[in-house]
Structures are given as C-alpha cells and as structure tokens.
C-alpha cells in the first residue's frame, strides 16, 4: 500500500514537474503556441533585466568610455538628445557616428537590414513570408553583395570601415539586459554589424526611391485602348511644365543619342495579375533655395523636406559632427556614414528623388519546361539558379528557387503561369565608384566645385542634389546614373529574347540636367520632371504635377523672404488640384441638397483649397474625386481584379474635362445613354453628397484631421510603440505633402547668414528607446508646424548649459 502511494506521489510530482518545465520554457520564449511567436513573458517582465530595465533616469548623465580611436573625443547630447560629436579627425568622427547611431537606433538598423535581405520571418514568423519572398525575388541581397564586392576594392573603404567598427564597438559591450526593448520582445540577439548590412540599408533606400515600375500596367493600357485613347489619357508631358532644370540651363550635346524607337520590342499582349503588385508610389520631396537678391537678409536660404514613409523611430537621425577641419550638422540614415541632408559653415545640401525609370521588365522565353534555359538572340542560355533559404520562426525553413537571367532575377510571374518577367534594375549593377563616400565627402565641402567632385561618384538612386553656399551660389544637379533610352523604352514590358532591347549606354554624367545660379535667382525641385521636352534623352518615370507649381509660383512672385516665410511655405496645405477641379464643377450641382442642410457646392466655392485638419471641405472634395475617377474610368475599374491598368492621372482628367468633354472615356459603359464630362461630374457630386451624409451621421465631429488621420508606425506596428490617429494638415498635392503614413520626414531651413541660422524638425524623436523622453517628443511639434533651432555654431559654454548627457571617449591605445 505504502509503495502504491509512493508511486502515485512520484507520478503526481513528475506531472507537476513536467508542467512546471513547460511553463518555464514557455515564459522563457522557447516554446511556440499554434505557430505563433509568443513574447518571452518571464524574461521580458524580469525587473532586473527585462522591460523594467529600460527605465531612463531623469537628469544629467556623464559617461566615460575607452574606445579604439586616435585622440580623445566627446559626444554631448543637447536638450533634444541631438549628439554633438566632436573629434580631432574624420576617422574618429566616423567611428563615433557608428557608435552613437547604434547606441540610439540599433534595432531599427538591424530590422532595416533584415527587411532588405528578406529575413524578417526569422523574427516575426510566417506573417512576413510574403515580404521576404518579395525582397528575395527582387534580388536586394544580390544587389548588396555586388555593391560590397566592389566597395571593398576601393581605397576609400577604410573610412567606411571605421563607421562599421564604431557600430560593432557598441554591440560588443552590450549585456543582455542592455539589449534594446524589441530584441527582448522578440527574443533575439544583436549580431555583429557588417559592410553587407550597410549595403542592404542603402539598397533598401534604392528600392524605396527607384524600385518602382509600371511596365505591366502601361503595357496592359497600351494593348487595351486604341492608340489615340492611350496617347490622350496617358500623355508623358503636360502642356506647360516647370522642369527642375529649365531649358536655358540645359546642356545640349553635339552628338545626340542615336538609338531609334523600335515598337516591335514591346510585348503586345495582356499580362494578368502577378504575385507581387506595384508598390505604393510614395509622394515625393521638396527642395528649394532662394538666392540673396530675393531674401530680406541678402543671404541664401536653403530648404529641404524629403517625403518618406514616417516611422518611429524616424528614418533620420539628427547629429552634429565637428572636427578642426569641418563643422557639419544634419540628418543621416542610421547604418550609413555621413550626413545626407545638412549644412556646414560654408554650404547647405539636400536631395529630392529624380523618379526616372531605372527598372525595366523583360518577358522571358523559356527553352525548356523546367525553366532552366531561356532564349537570347536565338541561342539557349542557362539561367543561374539561386536557392534562397528563408528561416521562419516557429516553422520549418522555406526554400525558394530564384532564376537569374541576363537581365536579372525573375521577379514577377503571372498567376496563370504564362508570363515570367525578369527585372533589369540599375541597383543590381556593380558600382563603379565609391558611392558610399558621397555623404561623407559632401559634408566637408566649402564650395560648389568641391561639392561637385565629392558627389560625382553617386550612382543610384538618382537624386536632384540641391546646393547652396554662404557665398551666394545656388544649384541643382541631377546626380546619378541614368540609362540612355530611346523613345518609350522602359515604359512597357519588352521581349527578353533579344539583347538589343537592353540599355546600351548611360547618359554621360556631364550631360545630366544641371542648373547653377539661374537668372531667376531661385532653384527648386519637387519630384517633377527634371528636364523639359527639349532634353535630348528620353526621360520617363513617375513625376509630380502639382506641388512644384505652388513652389515655383511662390518663389517667382515673392521677395524679401525670411526663414519664417520659408517655414510657412513648407507648412502650406494649399492644393492646386482642388482649385482646378472645383473651378469646373457644373453650377447645376448647387441645387443638389444634402440631408445635413449643407450646400456643398457653395462650401467648396468658398473654400481656400487648403487641407486644414479642422475643415470638412477636403473630406467632401476627396470623396468627390473618388467618385469622379470611378465613374470616368469605369472601363478600367471593372477590369482591375484581373488585370492591372493605371488610372490616368488627375491632371489628365482635368485637361480632358476642359478640352474634350465628349471623349468616349466619359461614357459609362453599362448605361444605355451616352454620358459626357458634365454628366459625370454631376453624378459624382450627387454620389458624394449621399456618401458624406452617411459619413456625417457616423462621425460626430467630421473633419479632415480625423477623417484622414496620420499614422506613424513602429516597424512592428505595435500601437504602444507607434503614434497613431494624429490629426494633421496637408495632402499629397500640397507642399506640406501628408499622406496616411507618409509626409515631410525632415523639414530643414538653413539661412546662410554669418553665423548660419538653421531650423529643423521631424516627426519622431532621437532615441530608439520607447521609454526615453526623446522617443517621440518632436511629433506634436512637427504636426503643429513648430521648428527647433539647430545648434551647429553653438559655443561649448552654451552647449554645456543645454547638455543632458556627456560621453568622454578616450583612446584605448596610442596610435603612431
């Protein structure tokens, strides 16, 4: 009996112990449930080393470090947590830049490099497999490996290595309790930083800025409509254009590019839906400089606000880098050395995206059923096979076979299996120069000649490089490699069985559009076409059509500008598109009543066309534009489930309402009557009134701010780490180009007086630690249009009054 009880006790004990061990491993993050990633709650809640360890004590902090630098240096954080990094030479500055960026943004850097490499599933599990497959098939890692192989052969790479060493110096001294919050949440460890990771971040930005094409969409449009309809509804040029580089500044070469259009190279069928659809095109950037004759002070004012995806932490990291040789201030991408948008004592610099198409699709003709060989110029060529292993947290790895042809990887495949498209993307090419040094060399320049030399090796993504100097020069140069294409080349899918369809040359760099000290005494770029119709090379891509007009109008007509005027201009929410479309709404619409008693016709006519957060007019106008597009382009919308076709641009719609209101596109196909532009506008207005009546019933306080809120997401999209549902002014067509999660990611104004006065703000905070008071402390300021003074010429005495943290870095060995 005793023995039975004892056995029972042992059994119960064993059961208890087994459950206990299960709970232990579960709370430690070693067990997945239902193929879901469960945070390691025990480890995470541990007061000693878990989440509670991330408290940031309030008050001044001082730290001493011993690092492999050549001379003593310091990093002083000011009242907004902006590091002022002061060292004796460039090598030490780059090392400390790497160290400081890692200290503040390590998870962001790690995640961005993993996202580019297609390795997110190793952290997040199955939910990110599609994203990873997209990156693998696009060949981002392949592009980064090509870049690294080339970079390492260049003597300048030693300097980039200093930055990488700095990142690794920070990582190597981290204890598990010091890992950033997200590492604990997802139960991962930081890995050593490598040149490949920096290259991946660079390629991720290339993907964002120049990794777009609409070849499939335009091919389908060309092969769906008659040539006349296609030309009328998908024109490439506006009647009146304001290119970044005006005609009088264009360099016309003696010998023009000789390749002629060859329509037979374009695919003449319809391509059905593919696995990876077109990306969000984004909404661009603004940059302008007003010269000294147009400013009140007689000094240039340089302005830049790049519009990128907004996130927490921000894609930008603000910093001040100072040595006896230079004194630069601005923002960088964490993970990459130098300052991308900024200023020093002599010059200011910044960029907007060029948007030229550097990504073309080629239809592959396979020579065997297994798709191992393909035809090119009548010969069979073997495709390179790259087997990608995608590690998935909580599941077996996935293996994806990706075929590489002469053009690049097979990126898109139609869902019916008939069309495999290979991608020719400029970012896959091995760089020919030390592009990684562009923003390091650029921040040290003193005049335009030096800046031209410093940035000439930049390859892709091509950017409008804006420049202004304290001595009064102002310029914009379209910088980067641009394929020399024949007319329409790259606009449509081409046959991949003929090597003549490849880009045969690049536009010589000296012939890239370029303007210096124009007579109008201002320069600007807002992602519109960089060059006019008269530019001798075919220029195609995705360009902006409204913001640039507002900017140029303001710069052209204004004078005696001050930095405060520029701040107001960057915050302008005026939409020229709204003004145009409202001006042509038929007067009959005034008779259409609304259940709320609001006369929307009168309201729109009295509207200032500003997208202000407390206004309802923008809401109605957006609803109206939606119905206007859907009723006009009913023949396209009805096909979108099966075939991707671009919706013609709004400026084209407006032009046709004005000039060709009886065009057949305005006719609604499913009705027995023939509609024209007037009918469509009235119908859209009527439907809009019905829709807004129901919207106003559902929303107690309807306005633009709460109807179209801004979301600034943490990469994990965890609400507690994000800033969501922000009511903000702006719209994509305004200078203050706000989208749902896009917008001016860094507003900077540099008034090049002596000493320089500069202002800036971005929607986020300097620290990547969500518990830091500097994690999202600038979000509200950004929403409200407030700017901060950028302390570039601050004295040590003034800085010591503002400092909240000081790090003194001493060399750990004496360098000869």
């Amino acid at each position: 009996m005793l023995s039975i009880i004892s056995d029972m006790q042992k059994f119960v004990y064993g059961l208890h112990f087994s459950i206990f061990l299960f709970v232990l491993f579960f709370l430690n993050g070693n067990i997945e449930l239902f193929r879901k990633t469960i945070p390691p709650f025990g480890k995470f809640l541990d007061p000693a080393k878990g989440v509670w360890h991330h408290n940031v004590p309030i008050g001044y902090v001082e730290d001493n470090l011993t690092l492999p630098i050549s001379k003593q240096a310091s990093v002083i954080y000011d009242e907004r947590w902006v590091p002022h990094i002061m060292a004796e030479n460039l090598e030490d500055i780059l090392f400390l830049q790497g160290y400081t960026e890692a200290e503040n943004r390590l998870f962001q850097m790690e995640l961005m490099s993993r996202a580019a490499a297609g390795e997110l599933s190793s952290i997040f599990g199955e939910v990110t497999i599609e994203l990873d497959l997209d990156k693998r098939r696009r060949g981002i890692k392949f592009a980064a490996e090509n870049a690294v192989n080339a970079w390492k052969q260049m003597p300048e790479f030693d300097l980039a290595q200093k930055y990488i060493d700095g990142v690794n110096a920070y990582i190597s001294q981290l204890k598990p309790e010091d890992y950033p919050l997200e590492f604990k949440l997802f139960n991962i460890q930081p890995e050593p930083w490598t040149e490949l990771k920096s290259a991946l971040i660079f390629k991720e930005m290339s993907l964002f800025l120049c990794g777009k094409n609409e070849d499939i969409e335009y091919t389908n449009a060309k092969n769906t409509f008659t040539q006349d309809i296609f030309n009328q509804w998908y024109p490439e040029h506006e009647d009146i254009e304001n290119p970044v580089v005006p005609d009088h500044s264009l360099v016309i070469p003696d010998t023009l590019f000789g390749k002629q259009q060859d329509n037979s190279s374009f695919y003449n069928g319809i391509i059905k839906k593919t696995f990876f659809e077109t990306r969000n095109p984004g909404i661009g950037s603004n940059q302008w400089t007003v010269g000294k004759s147009k400013t009140k002070s007689g000094s240039n004012i340089f302005c830049n606000d790049p519009h990128l995806s907004l996130g927490l932490p921000s894609i930008w990291f603000e910093q001040h880098l100072k040595t006896p040789q230079f004194n630069a201030y601005g923002v960088s991408f964490p993970g990459f050395p130098g300052i991308m948008i900024g200023f020093n004592d002599f010059i200011a610099w910044g960029e907007t995206n060029v948007g030229q198409d550097v990504e073309d699709l080629f239809l592959i003709e396979w020579a065997d059923d297994k798709k191992n060989t393909y035809y090119l110029d009548g010969k069979k060529l073997k495709a390179d096979i790259r087997i990608e292993k995608i590690a998935i947290k909580g599941a077996d790895p996935l293996y994806d076979t990706i075929r590489y042809t002469k053009w690049g990887p097979i990126f898109k495949s139609s869902k019916d299996g008939k069309n495999d498209l290979s991608i020719r993307w400029l970012s896959h090419d091995k760089p020919k120069g030390a592009e990684f040094m562009t923003f390091v060399n650029g921040m040290m320049c003193k005049n335009y000649d030096e800046y031209l030399t410093a940035t000439e090796k930049f390859q892709t993504p091509a950017q409008n490089f804006g420049f202004s100097s304290a001595s009064g020069d102002l310029a914009i140069r379209i910088n980067g490699m641009l394929p020399a294409k024949y007319d329409q080349d790259g606009r449509f899918v081409e046959y991949g069985n003929n090597s003549k369809n490849d880009w045969s040359a690049f536009i010589p760099r000296q012939l890239n559009p370029h303007v210096v000290n124009p007579p109008e005494n201002y320069v600007s770029s807002a992602n519109q076409r960089s060059a006019s119709k008269n530019y001798p090379y075919y220029f195609t891509g995705n360009f902006e059509n409204y913001r640039n007009k507002t900017i140029i109008e303001k710069l052209k007509t204004g004078s005696d500008f001050t930095a405060q005027d520029m701040q107001k201009m960057q915050m302008s929410s005026f939409s020229p598109k709204a003004k145009e479309f409202v001006s042509v709404i038929p007067t009959d619409c005034r008779q259409m009543g609304s259940a709320s008693g609001i006369n929307w016709y009168d309201k729109l006519k009295e509207w200032s066309f500003e997208y202000l957060k407390d206004k309802t007019e923008p809401v109605f106008f957006e609803i109206y534009m939606k119905h206007l597009r859907m009723n006009t382009f009913d023949e396209i919308y009805s096909k979108l489930d099966e075939v991707a076709i671009p919706i013609p641009k709004d400026w084209v719609l407006y032009k046709n309402i004005l000039n060709d209101p009886l065009n057949e596109i305005f006719n609604i196909k499913k009705t027995s009557t023939i509609e024209n532009a007037d009918n469509i506008q009235k119908l859209a207005f009527f439907k809009s009134i019905r829709e807004i009546d129901s919207v106003m019933t559902a929303w107690k306080n309807l306005n633009w701010g709460n109807y179209n809120p801004l979301h600034i997401y943490h990469p994990t999209r965890i609400p507690a780490l994000s800033a969501n549902n922000l009511a903000a002014d702006g719209c994509p067509d305004a200078i203050n180009a706000k989208g749902n999660s896009f917008g001016p990611s860094w507003r900077m104004i540099v008034h090049q007086k002596n000493p320089v006065e500069a202002y800036g703000v971005y929607p986020g905070g300097q620290s990547g630690n969500p518990f830091s008071p500097y994690y999202k402390n600038m979000v509200n300021d950004w929403v409200e249009g407030k700017y901060h003074v950028l302390h570039q010429n601050i004295t040590m005495e003034e800085l010591s009054k503002k400092q909240v943290k000081k790090v003194v870095a001493s060399p750990n060995k004496v360098k000869s």
């Binding site: 004892s6 006790q9 042992k10 004990y13 208890h16 112990f17 206990f20 709970v23 232990l24 709370l27 430690n28 709650f41 025990g42 480890k43 809640l45 541990d46 007061p47 000693a48 080393k49 878990g50 989440v51 509670w52 360890h53 991330h54 408290n55 940031v56 004590p57 309030i58 965890i718 609400p719 507690a720 780490l721 969500p770 518990f771 008071p773």
Partner: protein, 117 residues
C-alpha cells in the same frame, strides 16, 4: 519551526537574490526557491506561500522603484501594450509572474523532499 531553521534559508535567499539582480536569469529565483525548500522547508503549502510572497513583493518593489526613476513611462507602455490595462496592474502582473513561478518551484522542492524521505 525554530528561528534557527528560518535564519539560514532567509540569509541564503537574500544573498542569492541580490546576486541574481546583478548576474543571472529571471528563473534563478525559482531555482533558489526549489533548493531552499528542498533542504529547509517541510510543508508544501508553506513553501509555496513563502516564496510566492517573497518574490511577489521583491519583483513588485523592483519594478515600482525602477519605474519611478523614469516618471512611470515603463508601466504606461506596458499598460498600452497589454490592451490599456491599468498601470498598477502591470506591477501586479509582474509580481505575480515572478511570485507564482518561484512559489511553484518551492512547492516542487518541498514535495521532492517529502517523496524522497
């Protein structure tokens, strides 16, 4: 139970807990609880209660103290992360996690002692 029997486990546990705060893992509290209960505490219920209470209070105190240093942003974050629960509940949840785990380990330690005797 005499004072002498209480004294040693308390001294050892305090020492190990302090050591654990600087070096160790979150589950070390459980190991300590298991060991002490095995050697010194006969009653399973008593073992559970002692270590549950001790670690509950210990973790609770630590997280409140650390949170106070940063104006309570950690509890506010956890509160938002866990679905807008009260920040006070985040302290209690933390204390319960540590307390329950250690209490259970102590219960197992004491049980093993009873079975092996």
């Amino acid at each position: 139970m005499s004072i002498k029997k209480w004294f040693l486990p308390v001294v050892i546990s305090v020492f190990l807990f302090i050591l654990n705060a600087f070096w160790g893992w979150w589950w070390m509290n459980g190991v300590i609880a298991f060991v002490i209960s095995y050697f010194f505490i006969k009653g399973k219920g008593a073992s559970f209660l002692i270590f549950f209470s001790f670690v509950f209070v210990f973790w609770l105190f630590q997280c409140i103290w650390k949170d106070a240093q940063s104006e309570y942003v950690v509890s506010q974050f956890l509160s938002a992360l866990l679905g807008e629960i009260s920040p006070v509940l985040t302290y209690i949840l933390t204390g319960l996690t540590g307390g329950f785990f250690s209490g259970w380990a102590a219960y197992l330690g004491s049980s093993l002692r009873n079975i092996s005797k």
